[in-house]
């Protein structure tokens, strides 16, 4: 006589495929997933509490280390929230440079996503190809600010300093050869039978459910909802450049793969236009105090990071430090729906689903 029982198995927090310290409590019926419960907090550093004890201009390095792969967008988001709170205008050249760097960062973050996602599913070559391109971007970042990953390139009211000589030519060299490289990744994966078997129909979520779970970013756009903060509430120089928002209808892992690939192409398009239109002028707003005291009030500012919408809620009481600084993390919100996305799938699909949500635990746990 056979008797079947559900098996509870633990995955993580140390696991090569969980992309960080993520722990999943899986309840399995054989190989089929009944329930997935993520347990997070292994990378919780108390960033929100730390930010309450630092003056406004000292918080950006903390923000960099949230989503450490896409650090420029968080730096940008926090500083724009402070600029909104204090009513500071950013000069045009600084806004264009911020856009260029944010888009370079989006490409480098998507390259990490593609490389690691493909590696987890088994396609190891893609990882090397993606990181080869990523090295070019990291070289550009290092030439500008000295750091490769947690760059902290922006300051309140503008950017750190003007672009070094040769930087623009280096960026143009990169964006000239990048479209050919995207074709290489597509050639390896998009029509690959193994890739299609492992990603089509895996991790499906419908548009209504995705919106109700608070999902944003490529997760939402692959389910058919074309919501992108860069278009709806443009910031930096996004209203001066033309670009499309890729969406897909299928809502599964393959659709998200297509959306992010197309986003890389659109980022390259944005960078090209921004470089062509780059104006001269100041790179920082004048007359700013280091120990600034914005008026008492609160703002909530959102930017479109590579993983989704990153929100910054700042409350000021008129003092030198933020009274409350909350970071709305896209990975935190997107990960909450993993149970919905993987129910009924197989254990091997968990790895694909974690890869497709594209979480960074620093962002999730703060």
């Amino acid at each position: 006589m056979f008797r079947t029982e559900m098996m509870e198995i633990n995955m993580g927090p140390q696991h090569p495929s969980t992309h960080g310290v993520l722990r999943l409590a899986l309840t399995l019926d054989g190989e089929t997933i009944v329930e997935v419960k993520p347990i997070i907090g292994y990378l919780h550093r108390g960033v929100e509490k730390l930010a309450e004890h630092k003056i406004y201009v000292m918080v950006p390095p903390l923000c960099d280390r949230l989503d450490y792969v896409g650090s420029a967008s968080q730096n940008l988001g926090y500083l724009q929230a402070v600029e909104k709170l204090a009513g500071i205008e950013v000069p045009e050249r600084a806004r264009y440079i911020r856009t260029i760097i944010a888009e370079l960062n989006r490409i480098s973050s998507h390259l990490v996503w593609l490389g690691t996602h493909a590696l987890d599913i088994g396609a190891m070559t893609v990882f090397f190809y993606c990181f080869r391109e990523r090295e070019m971007i990291l070289d550009l970042f290092e030439a500008f600010c000295g750091a490769r990953l947690t760059t902290n390139m922006f300051r309140v009211g503008g950017i750190l300093e003007d672009l070094p000589p040769g930087w623009i030519e280096g960026t143009r060299r990169f964006i000239d050869l990048f479209p050919g490289r995207i074709k290489e990744y597509e050639g390896l994966l998009s029509a690959n039978r193994i890739w299609l078997e492992r990603t089509k129909g895996v991790g499906y979520i419908s548009a209504e459910e995705a919106v109700n779970w608070g999902m944003t970013g490529p997760m939402l756009r692959a389910s058919g909802v074309g919501y992108d903060v860069r278009k709806t509430e443009p910031y930096a120089a996004y209203d001066q450049v033309e670009f499309d928002i890729p969406t897909e209808k299928a809502g599964d892992t393959y659709a998200r793969y297509l959306v992010r690939l197309e986003e890389m192409r659109q980022s390259e398009r944005i960078i090209r236009q921004a470089l062509d239109k780059l104006p001269g002028g100041e790179i920082r707003a004048p007359k700013l105090k280091t120990r600034m005291k914005p008026p008492a009030g609160e703002v909530y500012h959102e930017v479109e990071g590579p993983r989704g919408v990153q929100g910054f809620y700042l409350v000021s009481d008129g003092g030198e430090t933020p009274y409350r600084c909350h970071f709305r993390a896209p990975s935190f919100v997107n990960l909450a729906a993993i149970g919905v996305m993987s129910r009924g799938g197989l254990v091997a699909d968990i790895v694909a689903v974690i890869g497709t949500i594209d979480i960074v635990l620093g962002d999730c746990d703060r």
């Binding site: 907090g41 509490k49 608070g214």
Partner: protein
């Protein structure tokens, strides 16, 4: 001719309608004045017309509109804002809390709502005292699930009707709620986890 001694000039009686001089109001810095300028919000107007006694007060800063509602009616307000076609707030962008310990009801639970079809935002807040419970917003938005767990973990506010209210970022056995203002930044040494 000799000057006739003039009758001492008596200042005329101030007319009865004159008010005592008021000290001049300090003029707001032009930047701050622009930040505090009120903006129109069709969503707020829809809420006020449909549920007028659910709006305690509303404010505006940097072009963002926020509204304070009584804590007993939060689910009703969120349900209205979600369902009504004039507001159509389908996305709960963020739900968080702030601690104002000097106030009677120390916690501010703040909901940031965004409408994808209408592209407008609203900030809804409620005031909750220490030890009081608040109805969970998971009835309207699934996104509230983890946000409320985080608020419970870091502030200690309980949510009634939440499917599984337990700590999320800190270990389950942790005591204390770090984002409260009286919790020290360095923590308590005896609480640091020891490796066994």
């Amino acid at each position: 001719m000799a000057d006739t001694p003039e009758t001492p000039q008596v200042p005329p009686e101030p007319p009865a309608s004159a008010k005592p001089p008021v000290p001049a109001k300090p003029k707001l810095d032009p930047v701050e004045e622009k930040l505090r300028r009120p903006v129109e919000s069709p969503a707020l107007e829809a809420l006020k017309s449909a549920l007028p006694d659910a709006v305690i007060e509303s404010g505006c800063y940097a072009g963002e509109v926020s509204v304070l509602v009584p804590k007993e009616r939060i689910v009703e307000v969120l349900r209205f804002l979600h369902d009504d076609p004039r507001t159509a707030f389908d996305l709960l962008a963020d739900q968080t809390a702030a601690d104002y310990p000097k106030r009677d009801k120390r916690f501010d639970i703040v909901y940031h709502l965004y409408s994808i079809p209408r592209n407008h935002r609203l900030r809804v807040r409620v005031r909750v005292g220490d030890g009081e419970a608040l109805a969970s917003a998971t009835a309207v938005y699934h996104a509230a699930d983890w946000h409320e767990r985080e608020i419970f973990d870091l502030f200690g506010v309980t949510f009634e009707g939440h499917p599984e209210l337990k700590r999320i970022l800190l270990p389950d056995e942790w005591e204390g709620h770090p984002l409260r203002k009286e919790y020290p930044l360095e923590g308590f040494p005896e609480q640091h986890m020891r490796l066994r």
